[in-house]
Protein backbone atom coordinates (compact mmCIF):
# COMPACT_ATOMS: atom_id res chain seq x y z
CA UNK A 1 0.00 0.00 0.00
CA UNK A 2 2.99 2.30 -0.23
CA UNK A 3 1.48 3.69 -3.42
CA UNK A 4 -1.61 4.76 -1.57
CA UNK A 5 0.36 6.55 1.09
CA UNK A 6 2.27 8.63 -1.44
CA UNK A 7 -0.29 11.37 -1.73
CA UNK A 8 -0.60 11.76 2.00
CA UNK A 9 2.90 11.27 3.30
CA UNK A 10 3.34 14.90 4.38
CA UNK A 11 0.33 14.69 6.76
CA UNK A 12 0.97 13.18 10.13
CA UNK A 13 -2.19 11.41 11.18
CA UNK A 14 -4.02 11.47 14.45
CA UNK A 15 -3.83 7.91 15.86
CA UNK A 16 -7.63 7.55 15.77
CA UNK A 17 -8.18 8.91 12.27
CA UNK A 18 -9.51 6.03 10.19
CA UNK A 19 -7.94 5.55 6.80
CA UNK A 20 -11.03 6.25 4.71
CA UNK A 21 -11.70 9.70 6.19
CA UNK A 22 -9.94 12.83 5.03
CA UNK A 23 -9.67 14.39 8.48
CA UNK A 24 -10.97 14.23 12.04
CA UNK A 25 -13.70 16.76 11.35
CA UNK A 26 -15.21 14.54 8.68
CA UNK A 27 -14.88 11.51 10.93
CA UNK A 28 -16.56 13.32 13.83
CA UNK A 29 -19.46 14.46 11.69
CA UNK A 30 -19.91 10.98 10.26
CA UNK A 31 -19.99 9.41 13.74
CA UNK A 32 -22.52 11.83 15.19
CA UNK A 33 -24.72 11.70 12.09
CA UNK A 34 -24.56 7.92 12.22
CA UNK A 35 -25.75 7.94 15.82
CA UNK A 36 -28.56 10.33 14.96
CA UNK A 37 -29.66 8.04 12.16
CA UNK A 38 -29.61 5.16 14.60
CA UNK A 39 -31.71 7.17 17.05
CA UNK A 40 -34.19 7.80 14.21
CA UNK A 41 -34.73 4.07 13.98
CA UNK A 42 -34.95 3.86 17.77
CA UNK A 43 -37.69 6.49 17.80
CA UNK A 44 -39.69 4.44 15.32
CA UNK A 45 -38.85 1.23 17.21
CA UNK A 46 -40.23 2.51 20.51
CA UNK A 47 -42.83 4.44 18.54
CA UNK A 48 -44.30 1.25 17.13
CA UNK A 49 -45.05 -0.27 20.51
CA UNK A 50 -46.19 3.13 21.77
CA UNK A 51 -48.71 3.29 18.95
CA UNK A 52 -50.09 -0.10 19.96
CA UNK A 53 -50.16 1.08 23.58
CA UNK A 54 -52.27 4.12 22.65
CA UNK A 55 -54.67 2.12 20.51
CA UNK A 56 -55.49 -0.08 23.49
CA UNK A 57 -55.44 2.82 25.93
CA UNK A 58 -58.16 4.44 23.87
CA UNK A 59 -60.05 1.14 23.68
CA UNK A 60 -59.77 0.21 27.37
CA UNK A 61 -59.41 3.40 29.41
CA UNK A 62 -60.63 1.86 32.70
CA UNK A 63 -58.20 -1.05 32.56
CA UNK A 64 -55.35 1.33 31.77
CA UNK A 65 -56.14 3.54 34.77
CA UNK A 66 -56.40 0.50 37.04
CA UNK A 67 -53.14 -0.87 35.65
CA UNK A 68 -51.31 2.39 36.29
CA UNK A 69 -52.54 2.36 39.89
CA UNK A 70 -50.89 -1.01 40.38
CA UNK A 71 -47.54 0.75 39.96
CA UNK A 72 -45.57 2.30 42.80
CA UNK A 73 -45.50 5.92 41.69
CA UNK A 74 -42.84 6.77 44.30
CA UNK A 75 -40.39 4.33 42.77
CA UNK A 76 -41.20 5.56 39.28
CA UNK A 77 -40.66 9.21 40.24
CA UNK A 78 -37.40 8.35 42.03
CA UNK A 79 -36.17 6.54 38.97
CA UNK A 80 -37.09 9.47 36.75
CA UNK A 81 -34.97 11.78 38.90
CA UNK A 82 -32.13 9.23 39.01
CA UNK A 83 -32.11 9.01 35.24
CA UNK A 84 -32.19 12.77 34.79
CA UNK A 85 -29.19 13.09 37.11
CA UNK A 86 -27.38 10.46 35.07
CA UNK A 87 -28.16 12.43 31.94
CA UNK A 88 -26.68 15.55 33.55
CA UNK A 89 -23.49 13.73 34.51
CA UNK A 90 -23.29 12.26 31.01
CA UNK A 91 -23.59 15.73 29.47
CA UNK A 92 -20.88 16.96 31.84
CA UNK A 93 -18.66 14.04 30.87
CA UNK A 94 -18.93 15.07 27.22
CA UNK A 95 -18.08 18.64 28.24
CA UNK A 96 -15.05 17.43 30.17
CA UNK A 97 -13.93 15.47 27.11
CA UNK A 98 -14.30 18.58 24.94
CA UNK A 99 -12.13 20.48 27.40
CA UNK A 100 -9.62 17.64 27.60
CA UNK A 101 -10.02 17.20 31.37
CA UNK A 102 -9.39 13.52 31.84
CA UNK A 103 -9.97 13.31 35.60
CA UNK A 104 -13.33 15.13 35.45
CA UNK A 105 -14.37 13.06 32.51
CA UNK A 106 -13.68 9.78 34.29
CA UNK A 107 -15.51 11.03 37.38
CA UNK A 108 -18.62 12.03 35.48
CA UNK A 109 -18.64 8.83 33.45
CA UNK A 110 -18.38 6.83 36.65
CA UNK A 111 -21.23 8.83 38.19
CA UNK A 112 -23.34 8.15 35.10
CA UNK A 113 -22.65 4.45 35.45
CA UNK A 114 -23.58 4.52 39.14
CA UNK A 115 -26.88 6.34 38.54
CA UNK A 116 -27.65 4.08 35.59
CA UNK A 117 -27.08 1.04 37.77
CA UNK A 118 -29.20 2.57 40.53
CA UNK A 119 -32.02 2.92 38.02
CA UNK A 120 -31.74 -0.74 37.10
CA UNK A 121 -31.69 -1.79 40.75
CA UNK A 122 -34.89 0.15 41.45
CA UNK A 123 -36.44 -1.32 38.34
CA UNK A 124 -35.42 -4.76 39.61
CA UNK A 125 -37.15 -4.11 42.95
CA UNK A 126 -40.31 -3.13 41.11
CA UNK A 127 -40.12 -6.16 38.86
CA UNK A 128 -39.70 -8.41 41.86
CA UNK A 129 -42.80 -6.92 43.51
CA UNK A 130 -44.88 -7.32 40.36
CA UNK A 131 -43.76 -10.90 40.02
CA UNK A 132 -44.74 -11.63 43.64
CA UNK A 133 -48.10 -9.94 43.13
CA UNK A 134 -48.81 -12.17 40.13
CA UNK A 135 -48.66 -9.28 37.69
CA UNK A 136 -46.44 -10.98 35.14
CA UNK A 137 -48.57 -11.72 32.08
CA UNK A 138 -49.22 -15.22 30.85
CA UNK A 139 -49.85 -18.23 33.03
CA UNK A 140 -48.30 -16.43 36.02
CA UNK A 141 -50.93 -13.75 35.95
CA UNK A 142 -53.01 -13.89 39.16
CA UNK A 143 -54.86 -10.71 39.76
CA UNK A 144 -58.50 -10.87 40.71
CA UNK A 145 -59.53 -7.51 42.10
CA UNK A 146 -61.79 -6.71 39.17
CA UNK A 147 -62.39 -10.00 37.33
CA UNK A 148 -64.17 -8.21 34.50
CA UNK A 149 -61.06 -6.09 33.85
CA UNK A 150 -58.46 -8.79 34.49
CA UNK A 151 -57.83 -9.56 30.83
CA UNK A 152 -57.38 -5.93 29.86
CA UNK A 153 -55.21 -5.20 32.89
CA UNK A 154 -53.09 -8.12 31.81
CA UNK A 155 -52.77 -6.43 28.43
CA UNK A 156 -51.67 -3.25 30.20
CA UNK A 157 -49.10 -5.25 32.13
CA UNK A 158 -47.84 -6.71 28.85
CA UNK A 159 -47.10 -3.22 27.68
CA UNK A 160 -45.62 -2.35 31.07
CA UNK A 161 -43.21 -5.28 31.03
CA UNK A 162 -42.52 -5.01 27.35
CA UNK A 163 -41.80 -1.29 27.28
CA UNK A 164 -39.87 -1.05 30.54
CA UNK A 165 -38.03 -4.25 29.64
CA UNK A 166 -37.01 -2.85 26.29
CA UNK A 167 -35.93 0.33 28.01
CA UNK A 168 -33.97 -1.59 30.65
CA UNK A 169 -32.26 -3.57 27.90
CA UNK A 170 -31.15 -0.30 26.36
CA UNK A 171 -29.87 0.80 29.77
CA UNK A 172 -27.86 -2.39 30.16
CA UNK A 173 -26.34 -1.96 26.70
CA UNK A 174 -25.64 1.67 27.59
CA UNK A 175 -23.87 0.63 30.79
CA UNK A 176 -21.70 -1.76 28.79
CA UNK A 177 -20.79 1.00 26.36
CA UNK A 178 -20.04 3.30 29.29
CA UNK A 179 -17.50 0.82 30.62
CA UNK A 180 -15.79 0.78 27.25
CA UNK A 181 -15.77 4.60 27.01
CA UNK A 182 -14.39 4.79 30.57
CA UNK A 183 -11.59 2.45 29.64
CA UNK A 184 -10.73 4.63 26.64
CA UNK A 185 -10.95 7.79 28.75
CA UNK A 186 -8.65 6.13 31.27
CA UNK A 187 -6.21 5.50 28.40
CA UNK A 188 -6.42 9.23 27.69
CA UNK A 189 -7.79 8.81 24.19
CA UNK A 190 -10.07 11.82 24.23
CA UNK A 191 -9.50 15.54 23.88
CA UNK A 192 -10.80 18.58 22.01
CA UNK A 193 -9.61 17.10 18.69
CA UNK A 194 -11.14 13.70 19.16
CA UNK A 195 -14.10 13.08 21.43
CA UNK A 196 -16.66 11.69 18.99
CA UNK A 197 -17.11 8.37 20.88
CA UNK A 198 -18.00 10.22 24.09
CA UNK A 199 -20.36 12.51 22.22
CA UNK A 200 -22.04 9.56 20.51
CA UNK A 201 -22.31 7.69 23.82
CA UNK A 202 -23.96 10.80 25.26
CA UNK A 203 -26.50 10.97 22.44
CA UNK A 204 -27.49 7.37 23.06
CA UNK A 205 -27.73 7.83 26.81
CA UNK A 206 -29.88 10.96 26.55
CA UNK A 207 -32.16 9.20 24.11
CA UNK A 208 -32.72 6.38 26.60
CA UNK A 209 -33.48 9.08 29.17
CA UNK A 210 -36.08 10.64 26.86
CA UNK A 211 -37.79 7.30 26.42
CA UNK A 212 -38.20 7.09 30.17
CA UNK A 213 -39.47 10.66 30.36
CA UNK A 214 -42.43 9.43 28.31
CA UNK A 215 -42.76 6.00 29.86
CA UNK A 216 -43.13 7.41 33.36
CA UNK A 217 -46.41 9.30 32.80
CA UNK A 218 -47.65 6.63 30.36
CA UNK A 219 -47.26 3.74 32.77
CA UNK A 220 -47.50 5.26 36.25
CA UNK A 221 -49.64 8.38 36.06
CA UNK A 222 -52.92 7.62 34.32
CA UNK A 223 -55.73 9.44 36.00
CA UNK A 224 -59.00 7.64 36.69
CA UNK A 225 -61.54 8.03 33.96
CA UNK A 226 -64.87 9.39 35.09
CA UNK A 227 -67.98 8.21 33.43
CA UNK A 228 -70.49 10.89 32.81
Amino acid sequence: MSDMALGNEHHHHHPFLQHHFEDLGQQHEASTLGMWMFLCTEILFFGGVLCAYWVYRVMYPEAWAVGAHLQQTGWGATNTIVLIVSSLTMALAVRAAQLGKRGQQLGFLFATLIFGTAFLVVKGIEYHRHWEEGLFPGSHFHWHEHPELAQKVQLFMCFYWGMTGLHALHMIIGAGLLLWIMWRAYKNHFGPEYYAPVEVMGLYWHFVDIVWIFLFPFLYLIHEVHHG
Binding site: H10, H11, H12, H14, E22, D23, L24, G25, Q26, H28, E29, T32, L33, W36, M37, L39, C40, I43, L44, G47, G48, C51, V55, V58, M59, T73, A77, T80, I81, I84, V85, S87, L88, M90, A91, L92, R95, Q98, L99, P192, E193, Y194, Y195, E199, G202, L203, H206, F207, D209, I210, I213, F214, F216, P217, Y220, L221, I222, H223, E224, H226
Partner: protein, 110 residues
Protein backbone atom coordinates in the same frame (compact mmCIF):
# COMPACT_ATOMS: atom_id res chain seq x y z
CA UNK B 1 6.23 21.97 7.07
CA UNK B 2 5.22 21.09 10.60
CA UNK B 3 3.51 24.45 10.99
CA UNK B 4 1.34 24.01 7.93
CA UNK B 5 0.42 20.52 9.02
CA UNK B 6 -0.58 21.82 12.41
CA UNK B 7 -2.66 24.49 10.74
CA UNK B 8 -4.26 21.89 8.52
CA UNK B 9 -5.17 19.76 11.52
CA UNK B 10 -6.73 22.64 13.41
CA UNK B 11 -8.72 23.73 10.42
CA UNK B 12 -10.29 20.33 10.01
CA UNK B 13 -10.62 19.24 13.61
CA UNK B 14 -14.24 18.91 14.80
CA UNK B 15 -15.92 22.17 15.56
CA UNK B 16 -16.08 22.19 19.35
CA UNK B 17 -18.85 24.15 20.98
CA UNK B 18 -18.50 23.91 24.74
CA UNK B 19 -21.80 24.66 26.46
CA UNK B 20 -21.43 26.76 29.63
CA UNK B 21 -21.90 24.84 32.86
CA UNK B 22 -24.85 26.90 34.03
CA UNK B 23 -26.94 25.87 31.04
CA UNK B 24 -26.54 22.19 31.92
CA UNK B 25 -27.47 22.88 35.54
CA UNK B 26 -30.47 25.00 34.53
CA UNK B 27 -31.73 22.31 32.15
CA UNK B 28 -31.31 19.70 34.86
CA UNK B 29 -33.32 21.80 37.32
CA UNK B 30 -36.05 22.34 34.73
CA UNK B 31 -36.23 18.59 34.15
CA UNK B 32 -36.48 17.90 37.88
CA UNK B 33 -39.20 20.51 38.30
CA UNK B 34 -41.00 19.04 35.30
CA UNK B 35 -40.96 15.60 36.91
CA UNK B 36 -42.41 16.94 40.15
CA UNK B 37 -45.08 18.92 38.30
CA UNK B 38 -46.08 15.86 36.27
CA UNK B 39 -46.43 13.89 39.45
CA UNK B 40 -48.46 16.55 41.25
CA UNK B 41 -50.67 17.15 38.22
CA UNK B 42 -51.55 13.49 38.15
CA UNK B 43 -52.96 13.74 41.67
CA UNK B 44 -55.36 16.53 40.75
CA UNK B 45 -58.49 15.79 38.79
CA UNK B 46 -58.24 17.92 35.66
CA UNK B 47 -61.08 16.15 33.89
CA UNK B 48 -60.15 15.52 30.29
CA UNK B 49 -56.96 17.54 30.68
CA UNK B 50 -54.91 15.08 32.75
CA UNK B 51 -53.49 13.24 29.76
CA UNK B 52 -52.73 16.32 27.62
CA UNK B 53 -50.99 18.01 30.57
CA UNK B 54 -48.81 14.97 31.20
CA UNK B 55 -48.00 14.74 27.50
CA UNK B 56 -47.15 18.41 27.19
CA UNK B 57 -44.80 18.33 30.19
CA UNK B 58 -43.09 15.18 28.90
CA UNK B 59 -42.68 16.77 25.49
CA UNK B 60 -41.15 19.93 26.98
CA UNK B 61 -38.72 17.81 28.97
CA UNK B 62 -37.77 15.81 25.91
CA UNK B 63 -37.24 18.97 23.88
CA UNK B 64 -34.95 20.37 26.58
CA UNK B 65 -32.87 17.21 26.60
CA UNK B 66 -32.66 17.15 22.81
CA UNK B 67 -31.76 20.82 22.45
CA UNK B 68 -29.21 21.16 25.24
CA UNK B 69 -27.96 17.78 26.44
CA UNK B 70 -27.84 16.44 22.90
CA UNK B 71 -26.46 19.74 21.54
CA UNK B 72 -29.01 20.00 18.75
CA UNK B 73 -29.30 23.74 19.33
CA UNK B 74 -25.72 24.13 18.05
CA UNK B 75 -25.95 21.39 15.45
CA UNK B 76 -26.18 21.47 11.69
CA UNK B 77 -29.43 21.88 9.85
CA UNK B 78 -29.13 18.23 8.87
CA UNK B 79 -29.37 17.19 12.53
CA UNK B 80 -32.48 19.31 12.94
CA UNK B 81 -34.03 17.72 9.88
CA UNK B 82 -33.17 14.27 11.25
CA UNK B 83 -34.77 14.93 14.63
CA UNK B 84 -37.86 16.65 13.29
CA UNK B 85 -38.16 14.08 10.51
CA UNK B 86 -38.18 11.08 12.78
CA UNK B 87 -40.90 12.56 14.99
CA UNK B 88 -42.83 13.50 11.86
CA UNK B 89 -42.69 9.88 10.71
CA UNK B 90 -43.85 8.74 14.13
CA UNK B 91 -46.70 11.20 13.64
CA UNK B 92 -47.59 9.53 10.34
CA UNK B 93 -47.78 6.16 12.09
CA UNK B 94 -50.05 7.56 14.81
CA UNK B 95 -52.29 9.79 12.70
CA UNK B 96 -53.02 7.27 9.97
CA UNK B 97 -53.49 4.38 12.41
CA UNK B 98 -55.90 6.42 14.47
CA UNK B 99 -57.62 7.58 11.30
CA UNK B 100 -58.87 4.02 11.27
CA UNK B 101 -59.55 3.42 14.97
CA UNK B 102 -61.28 6.71 15.70
CA UNK B 103 -63.61 6.49 12.72
CA UNK B 104 -64.63 2.85 13.06
CA UNK B 105 -67.66 3.76 15.11
CA UNK B 106 -68.93 6.22 12.54
CA UNK B 107 -71.69 4.98 10.36
CA UNK B 108 -72.31 5.87 6.74
CA UNK B 109 -76.05 5.27 6.71
CA UNK B 110 -78.11 6.08 9.74
Amino acid sequence: MADTTEHHQLEHAPHVHVTPLWIYIAVFLALAVGTIVTYLASLVDLGMWNTPVALIIATIKAVLVILFFMHVIHSTRLTWVTVVGSFLWLGILFVLTFADYLTRGWSLFK
